[in-house]
């Protein structure tokens, strides 16, 4: 037992050995939201002490912080290391917490409204979606036969309408089709954008999936018919003790449905990105464990093959999760809209 635990601690210390930016830090840096969109580093010359110098390819994003007393402050931070960032923040009356968040130097509560990496990527996906939708719609104005991008969009729109909206929502389908289509295309495109090597992890951000699930939750509650609420608070056709017993369960069910929706999308994309990066990170971990480039190259053959498999799987998951989110939204809406029979 002691041997096993020693081995375990040895392997974990090796994992974190070397300090600085290890594979684990890189992976966490990728899945977390950040104040700059850091795409890659390019080695460029040498530092005065002989170590290689890297030029980051990154898009700096503004930090927008609201302080109840000092008002709104918008500024860019140029530094990269925590100590540089700390120095710059201190000149503006803020401080960096150990978790990497910003706090006020005078301990007042502040509101961090920064335009982060995910926000920018969200905007890019939104503009892309708007362009795809507009140009597809325009293609139908000149002729009923789809041309250009509409050829790719039409089958997906028809799929969502015929396989998701109509079987679940019946005669309400047309009313909710715009929302379902927006969900499907937005989630799908965001997931595909996350598979490009641009350091993007949009749907692997629980805040975003929370708000998507919240919209579905509000839509379901607002459109709930009398029969829907009756099934929650006073289940028809049951003896009274069972009605009382079912009420709390049904009320919990109202909240667990969107919660599961949020967690499923987040966990799938988050875990996919982690899996992808861990497989590639294995190359660097083993190269540093055995202190040899050959070990790294040997693992690289398997890692890259496995990585290719994982990314192919992720492309399937990207569409599948979009389908499932849309499908479940339609199922919940359908059950809420059902009239009593």
């Amino acid at each position: 037992m002691r041997k096993a635990i020693t081995l375990l601690s040895l392997s974990t210390t090796l994992l974190w050995a070397g300090g600085g930016e290890g594979p684990a830090d890189f992976i966490i840096g990728h899945v977390k939201d950040s104040y700059d969109w850091h795409i890659t580093d390019i080695p460029w010359g040498k530092n005065p002490d002989g170590s290689p110098h890297y030029i980051p390819i990154a898009i700096p994003l503004p930090r927008i912080i609201y302080h109840p007393k000092n008002g709104l402050s918008v500024f860019f931070v140029k530094g990269h290391t925590p100590s540089e960032i700390q120095q710059e923040l201190q000149t503006r009356g803020f401080t960096l917490t150990p978790e990497g968040k910003i706090a006020a130097a005078d301990c007042q509560p502040i509101y961090d409204l920064s335009f982060t990496k995910t926000a920018l990527q969200l905007l890019i996906v939104g503009i892309l979606l708007l362009w795809i939708g507009r140009s597809a719609a325009k293609a139908y104005q000149s002729s009923p036969v789809p041309r250009g991008i509409a050829r790719w969009v039409e089958p997906v729109v028809l799929f969502v309408r015929d396989e998701v909206a109509r079987p679940m929502l019946h005669h309400h389908a047309e009313r909710f089709l715009p929302y379902l289509l927006t969900l499907f295309f937005f989630i799908w495109l965001s997931n595909l954008f996350g598979l490009t090597p641009l350091n993007s992890n949009i749907m692997g951000n629980i805040t975003l999936t929370f708000f998507l699930a919240l919209v579905t939750f509000i839509l379901v509650q607002v459109n709930g018919t009398k029969s829907y609420w009756q099934h929650i608070f006073w289940y028809p056709g049951m003896p009274i003790p069972l009605k009382i017993f079912l009420m709390p369960l049904e009320i919990i069910g109202v909240f667990t449905k969107p919660f599961a929706l949020m967690m499923r999308l987040f966990a799938n994309i988050f875990a996919g990105h982690l899996m992808m990066l861990s497989v590639i990170g294995l190359i660097f971990i083993l190269a540093s464990v055995f202190q040899s480039v050959v070990a790294g190259l040997g693992v690289a053959i398997f890692s890259v093959a496995l990585g290719l498999f994982v990314i192919a799987l992720e492309m399937l998951v990207a569409a599948l999760q979009a389908y499932i989110f849309t499908m479940l939204t339609a199922v919940f809406l359908g059950s809420a809209l059902e009239e009593s029979h």
């Binding site: 037992m1 002691r2 635990i5 375990l8 601690s9 974990t12 684990a24 966490i28 396989e163 599961a260 967690m263 499923r264 987040f266 966990a267 799938n268 988050f270 875990a271 982690l274 599948l320 999760q321 499932i324 499908m327």
Partner: protein
């Protein structure tokens, strides 16, 4: 010994949790797929509908397992 190991023991917990979640998801998806295959064998004309529902149900099972995997990851990174 346990005190000595207490700073790394959470890795063991996370790994066990991830493994157990994989077992659960494996049983779930295995049962689901076997029933779906039986259904298709009995009623080949309904293969399309059965497949679509199977994928949907597999996503439910997988979703629960992935929540467990995320918890395990958080245990490792945010100890």
């Amino acid at each position: 010994m346990w005190l000595q190991a207490s700073n790394t023991i959470h890795y063991l917990g996370a790994a066990l949790g991830a493994g157990l979640a994989a077992i659960g998801a494996g049983i779930g998806i295995g049962t689901l797929a076997s029933s779906a295959m039986q259904g298709i064998a009995r009623q080949p004309s309904a293969a399309g509908d059965i497949r679509a529902n199977m994928i949907l149900m597999a996503a439910f099972v997988e979703g629960v397992a992935l929540i467990a995997e995320v918890v395990a990851i958080l245990v490792v990174f945010l100890k």
